[in-house]
């Protein structure tokens, strides 16, 4: 399974990359993707989008999905 992972704002700086490609078996959910890329438990405020739509951490991911992680939004 290949997942294209994107990070924004402070999470991008923390991870040190804007994009990462994860190729691994045993990834079922966005939470699994986060663990694979960060090695950490997700913090409660972190937001997730799958294919540019908001999703929960426990939403299933599929081969080729774009999964994005970012902090609370602060526009306007």
């Amino acid at each position: 399974m290949t997942i294209n992972v994107r990070f924004f704002a402070s999470l991008r700086e923390r991870i040190g990359h804007a994009t990462v490609t994860v190729e691994a078996d045993g990834i079922a959910t966005a939470r699994d993707v986060w663990k694979a890329v960060s090695g950490e438990s997700p913090d409660e405020e972190m937001l997730v989008a799958i294919n540019k739509e908001y999703a929960g951490l426990d939403r299933a991911v599929a081969d080729g999905d774009e999964v994005a992680f970012f902090p609370p939004v602060t526009g306007g």
Binding site: F8, S10, A49, V73, T74
Partner: protein, 144 residues
């Protein structure tokens, strides 16, 4: 029905005026409500010199379009315009414009306020401030 994310500065008042002339049918909208958000030179007690606005290309546009479509449908608006800056902005720069046009004032005013609240809470934008001593990410928006 326009949603625009732009790096260049803009004049929201001119934009509303031009939009009305170009896109609205004269005589249909009895009410126009306009919100303009402008960058301050202070935040949380500190002087802010500049700010970088980041967004999620593709997702941010779609979120704003969905927000606008829902507001137009819910409030039966004639039209709605949303403009948001990204990139580097400076104190006094206008950051966001939400303009709503409807037959009567309640729909325009309610929709304008609602769209701003939805934008603030769900549109993927992030702000990083430049202070006198370094930079910091804005972690949350003010409550209103």
């Amino acid at each position: 029905m326009t949603v625009e994310i732009r790096e260049q500065p803009f004049d929201p008042w001119q934009m509303v005026s031009e939009y009305r002339s170009k896109h609205l049918v004269a005589g249909k909208s009895g009410a126009s409500a306009v919100f303009v958000g402008t960058m301050r030179d202070f935040n949380e007690g500190d002087e802010v010199q500049a700010m970088v606005l980041e967004h999620y290309p593709g997702m941010t546009e779609q979120q704003l379009k969905d927000m606008r479509d829902q507001a137009v449908s819910k409030h039966d608006l004639e039209d709605a315009l949303v403009v948001h800056r990204v990139g580097t902005v400076y104190p006094g720069d206008d950051i966001v414009l939400v303009a709503t046009f409807s037959g009567h004032r309640k729909a325009a005013l309610d929709a304008c306020r609602e769209m701003m609240e939805v934008l603030k809470s769900s549109a993927p934008f992030w702000k990083k401030e430049t202070l006198g001593a370094g930079e910091r990410w804005v972690e949350k928006n003010t409550p209103g």
